[in-house]
């Protein structure tokens, strides 16, 4: 297979975008989804053989010159190394499945074709990002994804909350994007290239690295990490992701769980050599990731909106990945990225199916849905088990790998925080599961029904993925995935430890058990606990007050400043003005006489004089173009003759 075919992978969805946006509303209508799905599936069919070739040890790269700029040429191209191959594998499969699901979920929407146009554009951008071989193309795709995210979160822009949410998401991620841009430019200053292979070459060897100013590298690494913080919703820029749940659920699954937010993590993975070159930046990454993982898990404990719980869970899991990368665990982080994409997409799609069936989002109104929606429930539970980290599902292996990295690299505090977060993860996930699918129906107005096959089929496909995808990284396959990634970028590996595994399993099982005890039998216990630990409960319920902090320390001071200035205006300046006014009136009376007799006389004289002059000079303004032209020409001629000293 010709590796240049990889260009078709982003191009096909892009074609679907163009056709759908131009012709969709008029001609394709409900057939718009077919085109998007077909192009995604075709992209998948092209990408998978290439991915498998890479899994077998291949390595593809190619480029073409795009534009001659200044002295050099802007060259774009693709780079399929183990890292991008695994992402490509994940994005094409998950993307296609979610689009199949969405064709059922969005059925009957008046802007059906536009939805699929946006999704196709998003797919094109994500795939471009994955296969790109330099930061410029990467950044372009990154920005297009930001745009798609904006458009899709605000898809129901009639709702004010959705309009605000998309605005918030766009502005918040933009803060990170600016950081990324600065980091990229700094990197270019330091290395003179933005091509991944050339960066690798420049930083891989100590001798070459010594020639690069370390301060610039630190700066560029930290600024690039800003991009990750924005895109992957890390603390303190995580606030947009929960609000982004205003978009349609397939969008939440595709963008805000499986792929786009993964781009931030992917950025760190891509720039891994840079971070390795300046290890002093790593603790920052670890600290932010670890705190995010803990904080988001803690917030998720008390949320009641089904999609918000999943959103915080996403933030938490992204925190895990970032933590892993911060501890030089490229394999662990990427591994969790892949497995997480599958089961988180599945969770979101399952949640979408529940919302589709019940038309409510609050888990307190659900309950007992297992009987009514068996397919959704079973797949959802599989995904929850995977997320909670129950062996042998995929989540267990990848999360265990992260914990192992933390443990073996000596970050004991991080290890325990993450284990605690894992416990909380299991708890809140099963709180969600038990309240949604078990017990009795709490709200008599909710009449649930199972979703159509076009929606349940992708659920099952993703469930299979969530079950089996852990094995390539498990001891059963000798940690094939980690070694595979280590080929591309060397990083430390660790032997599996029974202690870590048992900690992880105990945390997960105890979390599930606690959730079962509380929410299946003794629901009033939950209220008792909330009362007992009121400050903590409030902290979690109010999402660590981050939005409030922003509002108090960023927005309100500005408003207050404005108010103070207004008061100053109203009292001091206005008073001075009034006083001056009174004085002026006296003066004015005096001046009045002077003006009337002397100044007016002067003015009238000037006016009369000007009128006189005008009547003479206005003859020049004939209004005839050619006349002006002739005068200009003759003037030019005189000028030439004078200059050349011909006369």
């Amino acid at each position: 297979m010709n590796p240049d075919m990889i260009y078709l992978v982003p191009l096909l969805p892009f074609t679907a975008f163009v056709v759908n946006i131009l012709l969709g509303a008029r001609f394709l209508k409900h057939r718009a989804s077919w085109l998007s799905i077909a192009t995604s599936a075709a992209a998948c069919a092209i990408a998978l053989p290439i991915c498998f070739a890479v899994f077998k040890g291949g390595h593809f790269a190619g480029e073409f010159s795009w534009l001659p700029v200044g002295g050099g040429t802007l060259r774009f191209g693709y780079l399929i190394d183990p890292l991008s191959a695994s992402l490509l594998f994940m994005v094409t499969i998950v993307g296609t499945l979610i689009q199949i699901y969405a064709s059922g979920y969005m059925a009957g929407d008046p802007r059906y074709s536009r939805f699929f146009a946006y999704v196709s554009l998003f797919m094109a951008a994500m795939l471009t990002l994955v296969i790109s071989n330099n930061f410029i193309l990467f950044f372009m795709a990154w920005e297009i994804m930001g745009l798609c995210s904006y458009l899709l979160i605000g898809f129901y822009f009639e709702r004010e909350s959705a309009a605000k949410a998309c605005f918030k998401a766009f502005l918040t991620t933009r803060v990170g994007d600016v950081g990324f841009l600065i980091g990229m430019l700094t990197l270019f200053t330091a290395l003179g290239t933005l091509n991944f292979s050339e960066i690798n070459g420049a930083l891989a060897h100590g001798s070459a690295r010594a020639a690069v100013p370390a301060s610039l590298l630190v700066m560029s690494a930290l600024f690039m990490f800003c991009g990750t913080v924005g895109k992957s919703a890390q603390f303190p820029l995580h606030v947009w992701l929960p609000d982004a749940m205003e978009g349609p659920t397939p969008v939440s699954a595709l963008i805000h769980a499986a792929t786009m937010v993964a781009a931030g993590v992917f950025l760190v993975a891509r720039a891994f050599v840079i971070f390795m070159a300046v290890p002093e930046t790593m603790p920052v990454v670890t600290a932010i990731g670890c705190f995010t993982a803990f904080m988001a898990a803690f917030i998720a404990l008390t949320q009641t909106d089904i999609k918000r719980i999943l959103a915080y869970s996403t933030i938490s899991q992204l925190g895990y990945m970032v933590t892993a990368l911060g501890m030089q665990g490229l394999g662990a982080g990427t591994f969790h990225l892949i497995t997480h994409a599958f089961f988180k997409a599945l969770l979101f799609l399952g949640a979408g199916s529940v919302i589709h069936g019940t038309h409510v989002q609050d888990i307190r109104q659900m309950g007992g849905l297992f009987r009514k929606m068996p397919h959704t429930a079973i797949t959802f539970i599989i995904a929850s088990l995977a997320l909670a980290g129950i062996p042998p599902l995929s989540g267990f292996w990848s999360k265990d790998e992260i914990l192992l990295t933390a443990f073996a690299s000596g970050n004991i505090v991080v290890f325990w925080v993450l284990t605690l977060s894992a416990f909380m993860t299991a708890f809140y996930m099963f709180r969600l599961v038990f309240m949604t699918f078990f017990g009795k129906a709490r709200d008599p107005h909710v009449h649930a029904h199972e979703s159509p096959a076009v929606m349940t089929l992708p659920l099952w496909c993703l469930a299979i993925g969530s079950v089996v995808l852990g094995f390539p990284g498990s001891p059963f396959m000798h940690h094939w995935f980690q070694r595979f990634l280590a080929h591309a970028v060397p990083h430390p590996e660790y032997h599996p430890s029974a202690f870590v595994m048992s900690c992880s399993v105990i945390a997960a099982v105890s979390g599930i058990a606690l959730a079962g005890i509380i929410y299946l039998k003794n629901v009033h216990w939950a209220e008792a606990v909330a009362k007992a630990f009121r400050p903590l409960y409030q902290l979690s319920l109010n999402k660590f007050y981050v939005d409030e902090i922003y509002s108090r320390f960023v927005i309100r001071p500005f408003l207050a400043l404005g108010r103070v200035l207004f008061h100053f205006d109203a009292t001091v300046i206005d008073g001075a003005v009034n006083g001056a006014g009174t004085g002026s009136m006296w003066l004015g009376a005096v001046k009045n006489w002077f003006d009337k007799n002397i100044v007016d006389g002067l003015v009238n004289f000037v006016g009369a004089f000007t009128c006189f002059l005008n009547s003479v000079v206005k003859r020049l303004q004939t209004g005839l173009v050619q006349n002006y032209l002739l005068i200009a020409f003759l003037g030019f001629l005189v000028f030439i003759i004078r200059e050349l000293k011909l006369i």
Binding site: L67, P68, L624, Q626, N627, L630, F633, L634, L637, I640, I641, L644, L646
Partner: protein
């Protein structure tokens, strides 16, 4: 071969003279349609002059764009506004004498400078035959930005022309 060379030289000077005569026709003929036809002939003469300089591509483009398109559009406009142009009124405004004098001075001055300047002909470029492939490579390489700029300007002009010339909707 001297006879051939001599013949060609005579031909070129004749071509130049004829072109100038036609150009004078362009600006002096009272009938605008005639002067447009003279313009077409002048342009063809210029194209022939391009051939003398071995700029075949340019000659073809000149004929294709100027004679085929620009002159046609001009004639189109002449026809649309014809019955007013036909009025037996002066076709020249009142400033023709100063204009003529000024231009004669310009020609005299510039011509004198032209003849006094020692023009050095670069032997490397005189002999060079520019193929269409060279032109294409230069357009898409060195001059890609001017090229794109011209495309953008053309599009803008096209849209602008459509909007300006469009009949306003009668309210």
């Amino acid at each position: 071969m001297d006879i051939l060379n001599f013949g060609i030289k005579v031909g070129i000077y004749a071509l130049m003279a004829g072109t100038l005569v036609l150009a004078v026709g362009v600006v002096t003929l009272r009938n605008l349609f005639h002067s447009a036809l003279c313009l077409a002939a002048t342009l063809i003469g210029t194209a022939a002059l391009y051939l003398v300089f071995h700029a075949e591509f340019l000659a073809a483009v000149q004929i294709l764009l100027y004679v085929g398109a620009v002159v046609t559009v001009i004639i189109f406009a002449i026809m649309l506004t014809e019955h007013i142009a036909e009025r037996s009124v002066a076709q020249r405004n009142r400033q023709s004498l100063p204009a003529l004098l000024g231009i004669l001075v310009l020609i005299a001055v510039t011509g004198r400078i032209l003849l006094k300047t020692p023009w050095a002909v670069n032997p490397a470029t005189v002999g060079a035959r520019v193929t269409v492939a060279d032109l294409g490579a230069a357009l898409m390489g060195t001059y890609v930005f001017p090229f794109e700029l011209v495309s953008v300007i053309l599009i803008a002009a096209l849209i602008g022309a459509v909007i300006v010339a469009k009949k306003e909707k009668s309210s």
